[in-house]
C-alpha cells in the first residue's frame, strides 16, 4: 500500500500533465464546437508535434547536465539545408542517405558545442548563442539566398514525411522509436545514468571516476545529432528549406522540456515527462487557432509557459524543503 502511494508521488508530474491534457482537450472541444477531438485533428497534432518531441529528448539531456543549447534551431536549418541541397543536385539518391548526411552535420555542430563547453569551459549559453549565429550564417551561405523547394526534392524523399505505415504516419513512428531508444538509454545504460550523475553533482561524479568532460561532449553531440535528424524531417514535412528555417525553434523545445518537469538547474528529468510536455505544447499550439486566438499570441504564451513553469517548480521545491525541515525537527523531539 505504501508502495502504491510512493509510485503516485514519484510520477505525480506525469499524472498532472496527462490530467491537464485531458482537461484542456475537453475545454477546447467545447469552445471550438467539437473540432478538437477528432481522429483527423489528433493525427495532425501528433504529426505536428513529432519533430518537437524528437528534439526535446536531446534538449532534456543537455538541460539535465545543467546546460542549455540555443543553437538547435540553427543546427536544424543547417542540416536540413545541406541535406536538401545535396538532394537537389542528386535526385536519385536514396533518401536515407540524405537523412544520414543531415544527422552527420548535426552531430558535428553538436560536437563543436560540446568541446567548447567541456574543454574550453565556455558557459553553455554563450557558446550556443555564438554558435547559433555561426551555424545560421553558414546555412545562409550554403543556400546562397535561395530556397530549396518541393520541386527540388525527390518523391521518395518527400514520402518520408507523408507515408504511413500500418496507418500511422512515419513521423509518429520515428518519434516512438526515438523515445524508446531514449528511455532505454537514459534508464538502462551506464552512460545514460552518468548524465544524471554529472547533472546532480559534478564533484561527486568526478570522485566516482566518471569522465565528466566526455559525458558533456557526448550530450551536446547527441543533441546535435538529434537536431540534424529533426531538421531534415522538418524540411521534409514542410517541403521547403531556407535560411530562416526553424528560427526560434529552440524556445519551443525548451518550453516542452520545462513543462515536462526537466529542472533547469540540472539533475532532474524524465523521458516520459518530456514526451507529455511536448504533447501538451503541441496540443496548445493546435488549440489556439481553433479557439480563434491569433498566432501572434503564441509567442508570448510560449514565454509565459516557460516562466510560469520554472517559478511554480521553484515554489514547489521550497515547499518540499520546508516539509522535510519540519519532519527533521519533529524527529528531533
Amino acid at each position: 500500500m505504501k508502495n502504491k502511494r510512493n509510485i503516485l508521488y514519484a510520477n505525480i508530474r506525469e499524472i498532472g500533465l496527462i490530467a491537464v491534457i485531458i482537461l484542456l482537450s475537453f475545454f477546447v472541444q467545447y469552445r471550438s464546437g467539437g473540432s478538437f477531438i477528432t481522429a483527423e485533428n489528433i493525427n495532425d497534432i501528433l504529426v505536428e508535434t513529432a519533430v518537437l518531441a524528437i528534439l526535446s529528448v536531446g534538449m532534456m539531456m543537455v538541460i539535465i547536465t545543467g546546460g542549455i543549447d540555443l543553437s538547435i534551431g540553427a543546427t536544424m536549418a543547417l542540416a536540413g539545408m545541406i541535406g536538401t541541397t545535396v538532394l537537389k543536385n542528386n535526385q536519385n539518391l536514396n533518401p536515407l542517405i540524405i537523412i544520414f548526411i543531415a544527422v552527420l552535420v548535426g552531430a558535428l555542430c553538436g560536437l563543436i558545442n560540446g568541446l567548447l563547453v567541456a574543454r574550453l569551459n565556455v558557459l553553455p549559453i554563450i557558446a550556443t548563442l555564438g554558435m547559433m549565429n555561426v551555424y545560421r550564417g553558414i546555412t545562409y551561405l550554403v543556400s546562397r539566398g535561395s530556397w530549396v523547394l518541393q520541386s527540388d526534392m525527390s518523391k521518395e524523399f518527400m514520402a518520408i514525411a507523408t507515408n504511413r505505415f500500418l496507418g500511422i504516419n512515419n513521423l509518429i513512428w520515428i518519434t516512438i522509436i526515438i523515445y524508446c531508444i531514449g528511455y532505454w538509454f537514459m534508464n538502462y545504460t551506464r552512460k545514460g545514468r552518468q548524465i544524471y550523475a554529472v547533472g546532480n553533482s559534478m564533484e561527486s561524479a568526478k570522485v566516482s571516476g566518471i569522465k565528466t568532460k566526455s559525458v558533456l561532449v557526448m550530450v551536446y553531440t547527441l543533441m546535435g545529432l538529434i537536431a540534424g535528424l529533426g531538421g531534415i524531417l522538418y524540411v521534409c514535412k514542410y517541403a521547403a528549406s531556407q535560411g530562416e528555417t526553424a528560427t526560434g525553434y529552440e524556445m519551443n523545445v525548451i518550453a516542452a522540456c520545462v513543462l515536462g518537469g526537466v529542472s533547469i538547474s540540472g539533475g532532474v528529468g524524465k523521458v516520459q515527462g518530456v514526451l507529455l510536455g511536448a504533447l501538451l505544447f503541441g496540443a496548445l499550439n493546435n488549440a489556439l487557432p481553433l479557439m480563434h486566438i491569433s498566432p501572434f499570441f503564441q509567442e508570448a504564451l510560449r514565454g509565459l509557459i516557460i516562466l510560469l513553469s520554472i517559478i511554480i517548480n521553484a515554489v514547489i521545491q521550497r515547499r518540499v524543503t520546508k516539509k522535510s525541515l519540519e519532519r527533521r525537527s519533529e524527529n528531533e523531539q
Partner: protein, 340 residues
C-alpha cells in the same frame, strides 16, 4: 614558533608602478586589434578616414553601443540578460502605438522609457524573489514574452509616420558630431565614473567576485541587482528610441539579434562571464573593434550572414581564449611537478 613576532610597523600603502603589470593587460590587445582593423579598412576604402564617412560608420553601431554599458554591469555581476533586444522592441512598439493613437510624441517617448523600466524591473524582481532561478532562463523567457507582447500589439504592421523632429535622435548633429555620438560619449563618461570611481561600482565588483561575502559584508545585494537589471531596461528603451528614429519606423521584430553583438562587445572587452573582472576602457575599445569590423566587412560587401558567423565565432573565441590561457598555465604547472 613565531608567537613573539614584533608588531608590524611598515606596511606599504602607496602602489608602486609595475611596468610588467601595466603592459600585460587585455586592453592592449584590443588597441592592437583596433589599429589593425582601421589599417585594413583604410586599405579597402580610400575614403574611410574621411571625417564624415567615419562619423556615419560609427553612427551605424552606436545604437547597439548604448546597450553595452549597462550590460557590462550585468555581466560584472556574473549574470546575463538576453532580453534587451526584446525590451527595445516592446518599448519602441508601445511608443509608436501611443503616438499613433493621439498621444503627443514627447509623452510617447516618456512612455517608452517607462516600459523599458518596467521590463528591466520585472527581470530584477523575479531574480531577487526566486534566487534559485538563473538569470539565463528568466531573461530567456522574458525575451520571448516581451517580443511576443510587441507582436500582439502591432502584429506584423509598422508605425512610421513620426514627427519630423523625431529624426533628430538618430540623425541630428551638434556641430559636426552626431547627436547619438554625444549621447554615447556622455554615457561612456558617466559609466566609467560609476564603475571605477563610486562605491556602487566597487559593490558590483564585490558581488561578482563573491556574492556570499558581499552579503556577509552588509552589501544590499538585492537592491543592487534590481537597479542593474532596471538600468538595462531603461537603456534598452533609449536604444529603441534611437533605432526607431534612425529607421523612421518601428515594428515588433526590430533589433533582432542585438543581444549577440552587445554581449560580444562586453565579453571581448575583457569582462569575464564569471563576474568581478573587467574594465570600462576595454569595453569601449571592443565596441569600436566590433563596430568597425562590421563596417569594414560591409565595405567589401561581405554578406550580412557571413558577418553573423564572424561575430558569433568572435564571441565564442573571446570567452574561450582566457580559459585556454588558464588551462595552459595549469598544464605547465603539472609538467613542473612530474619533472621532479
Amino acid at each position: 614558533m613565531n608567537s613573539n613576532e614584533g608588531l608590524v610597523r611598515n606596511i606599504e600603502y602607496e602602489r608602486k608602478f609595475s611596468l610588467k603589470r601595466f603592459l600585460f593587460q587585455w586592453e592592449w590587445l584590443l588597441v592592437l586589434l583596433l589599429v589593425v582593423i582601421n589599417l585594413i579598412n583604410i586599405r579597402l576604402s580610400p575614403n574611410y578616414w574621411d571625417f564624415d564617412n567615419l562619423m556615419s560608420a560609427i553612427q551605424m553601431f552606436l545604437d547597439k553601443a548604448i546597450l553595452v554599458f549597462p550590460m557590462m554591469l550585468v555581466i560584472l555581476l556574473g549574470e546575463i540578460d538576453i532580453s534587451i533586444a526584446s525590451t527595445m522592441a516592446l518599448s519602441a512598439v508601445i511608443m509608436g502605438v501611443s503616438y499613433q493613437s493621439g498621444i503627443p510624441m514627447p509623452a510617447a517617448i516618456m512612455i517608452s522609457l517607462l516600459i523599458g523600466t518596467v521590463c528591466g524591473l520585472i527581470n530584477g524582481v523575479i531574480l531577487v524573489k526566486y534566487k534559485e532561478l538563473s538569470s539565463m532562463i528568466v531573461t530567456l523567457s522574458t525575451m520571448i514574452i516581451y517580443r511576443g507582447i510587441a507582436s500582439i500589439i502591432l502584429k506584423d504592421q509598422a508605425v512610421s509616420n513620426f514627427p519630423d523632429w523625431f529624426q533628430y535622435f538618430g540623425w541630428g548633429k551638434i556641430g559636426n558630431i552626431p547627436f547619438i555620438l554625444f549621447f554615447f560619449i556622455i554615457e561612456a563618461l558617466v559609466f566609467t565614473y560609476l564603475v571605477h570611481k563610486t562605491p556602487f561600482g566597487r559593490k558590483v565588483y564585490a558581488m561578482g567576485n563573491n556574492i556570499v561575502t558581499s552579503r556577509y559584508s552588509g552589501l544590499k545585494n538585492d537592491k543592487i541587482k534590481i537597479i542593474i537589471f532596471t538600468l538595462n531596461g531603461i537603456f534598452a528603451a533609449i536604444a529603441g528610441i534611437f533605432l526607431t528614429s534612425k529607421m523612421g519606423s518601428t515594428r515588433p521584430n526590430i533589433a533582432s539579434g542585438y543581444e549577440l553583438d552587445v554581449i560580444a562587445m562586453v565579453v571581448l572587452g575583457g569582462v569575464s562571464t564569471s563576474g568581478g573582472k573587467g574594465k570600462v576602457g576595454g569595453v569601449i575599445l571592443s565596441i569600436f573593434v566590433i563596430g568597425l569590423l562590421r563596417y569594414g566587412l560591409g565595405l567589401i560587401n561581405v554578406p550580412s550572414q557571413t558577418i553573423m558567423i564572424i561575430i558569433g565565432a568572435l564571441l565564442v573565441v573571446a570567452v574561450a581564449i582566457p580559459n585556454l590561457k588558464n588551462s595552459l598555465r595549469a598544464f605547465n604547472k603539472m609538467n613542473i611537478f612530474t619533472k621532479k
